[in-house]
């Protein structure tokens, strides 16, 4: 009897360790994918509203790349969860507090300067992050990273190029992009805040140790800003919360649009 009890104890303990591991991996994947989903949604708002046809097409192309990457992440997350969820329910059916994207990506398309500044500040991070994720011990994440980085290198080139064009452009464009960089700077530090899931996955050699990227991130960003004749903000106070599901007031509006069809007609499909 005693043996049985101890046996059942050790079994349930190993199951709970396994579950814990799965839960961390699941949360880690959402932490990566939610950034791309929400940024993709923001860029999608510009479809038909871009400042010129070429930039309109470019921004929605980037949006499409991000959604494509998101599908791979969510499909993998659904497989891990194994609870009847799928890529669509993960994308569309969660309440706001369960989205763990950084605050940066949910900031609005105030003007073209903000669109480019937000994209640039994210792309520099995204490219560095995927570079490292390619070495993940998790084969699926490494595969998604290897695929995605080819696309993201084009995103980074596009946004860096526009930062330079706007910064080194007219007095008006310089002012606008500088305003946007100054305003959005407060959201950059959160990219390097590590959640529990991140820390656990780093320990397993699955996750990327983002703290090691931080210094180079600010160097890379500053280099482009200098080239664009823009000032690098000297800010000491940073906003955070998105990774814990505590979002800015903009998030509700994004989700209202993103989730509208699924909430109105549950389980509808094309």
């Amino acid at each position: 009897m005693k043996i049985l009890i101890s046996n059942s104890f050790s079994t349930s303990a190993s199951i709970s360790i396994l579950n814990e591991m799965k839960k961390n991996l699941y949360n880690y994947i959402l932490g990566i994918a939610d950034n791309s989903l929400i940024l993709g949604q923001r860029l999608g708002e510009l479809c038909g509203h871009g400042p010129s046809l070429e930039t309109d097409i470019a921004l929605t192309n980037i949006s499409l790349d991000l959604f494509g990457q998101v599908r791979s992440y969510y499909q993998y997350a659904a497989k891990i969860a194994n609870n009847g969820s799928n890529e669509d329910t993960i994308a569309m059916m969660r309440p706001e507090r369960e989205y763990v994207n950084v605050l940066l990506v949910e900031q609005p398309n105030t003007d073209f300067g903000y669109v480019i500044a937000r994209q640039f500040l994210f792309d520099v991070y995204h490219f560095m992050f995927l570079t490292e994720l390619q070495n993940s011990k998790d084969e699926t994440l490494a595969a998604i990273a290897k695929k995605s980085i080819k696309e993201v290198s084009y995103h980074l080139r596009f946004s860096s190029d526009w930062v330079k064009r706007l910064g080194d452009g007219t007095e008006e464009s310089h002012k606008r992009i500088q305003n946007a960089i100054n305003d959005l700077w407060t959201y950059t530090d959160e990219l390097f805040h590590q959640t529990d899931a991140e820390k656990k996955m780093i320990a397993e050699n699955i996750g990327v140790d983002t703290l090691k990227l931080k210094e180079t991130y600010y160097q890379n960003v500053s280099e482009i800003l200098n080239e664009a004749t823009l000032d690098v903000p000297e800010l000491k106070y940073f906003q955070k919360g998105g990774k814990q599901g505590i979002h800015t007031e903009h998030m509700g509006y994004i989700l209202a649009e993103l989730q509208y069809m699924q909430r109105t007609y549950p389980n509808m499909s094309w």
């Binding site: 070429e54 930039t55 097409i57 470019a58 192309n61 980037i62 499409l64 790349d65 991000l66 959604f67 494509g68 990457q69 599908r71 791979s72 084969e139 699926t140 490494a142 595969a143 998604i144 290897k146 695929k147 995605s148 080819k150 696309e151 084009y154 080139r157 596009f158 190029d161």
Partner: protein, 165 residues
């Protein structure tokens, strides 16, 4: 003909009938998206890989492959694979020629591609008149895989298939 993928010779004629829905002059074999095709226990097992993650053509391609094999009396199972990631190197020579005739400049090598897309060098050849006096209009074109160029000599706008490595 196809050195980089594992494909049964007898299945090639069927796969060759399926074209890329976005670029109909290219077959999916020319594009290099078919990674594996073998007949295993009476079922054709196929692996395809996307050109770009968000490529909306993948679902259509999978449906078209299914239809093509069904017509020939085969059962088919299709899997989507991500590694190794697709590269423009897998576009066949026939495919590159077909692209150019269709009005899409085929991809340059990685370094040259960067120079072209940053506007450092005029090296993308106009598909209309052949001039290299061309300018980048937008790094993103009508689909994720293309950039938009315009020829300074004949003024014709055209797509350029971006190098992906």
């Amino acid at each position: 003909m196809i050195e980089h993928a594992d494909i049964d010779t007898e299945l090639i004629p069927i796969l060759d009938k399926v074209s890329d829905p976005e670029i109909p002059v290219l077959t999916i074999l020319d594009m290099g998206v078919v990674r594996y095709a073998k007949l295993v226990d009476d079922v054709v097992q196929i692996k395809i890989t996307p050109t770009y993650s968000g490529c909306p053509a993948m679902d259509v391609i999978a449906d078209d492959i299914k239809a093509a094999f069904k017509k020939e009396g085969y059962n088919v199972n299709i899997d989507l694979v991500l590694t190794p990631a697709w590269t423009t190197d897998w576009i066949s020579e026939e495919g590159r020629d077909a692209l150019e005739k269709y009005g899409i400049a085929p991809p340059l090598e990685a370094e040259a591609d960067k120079d072209a897309l940053l506007g450092n060098k005029k090296i993308v050849k106009c598909t209309n008149c052949g001039s290299q006096n061309t300018n980048l209009v937008s790094q993103f074109g009508s689909t994720a895989c293309k950039a938009l160029f315009q020829c300074e000599d004949c003024h014709e706008p055209f797509d350029y298939f971006k190098c992906l490595k």
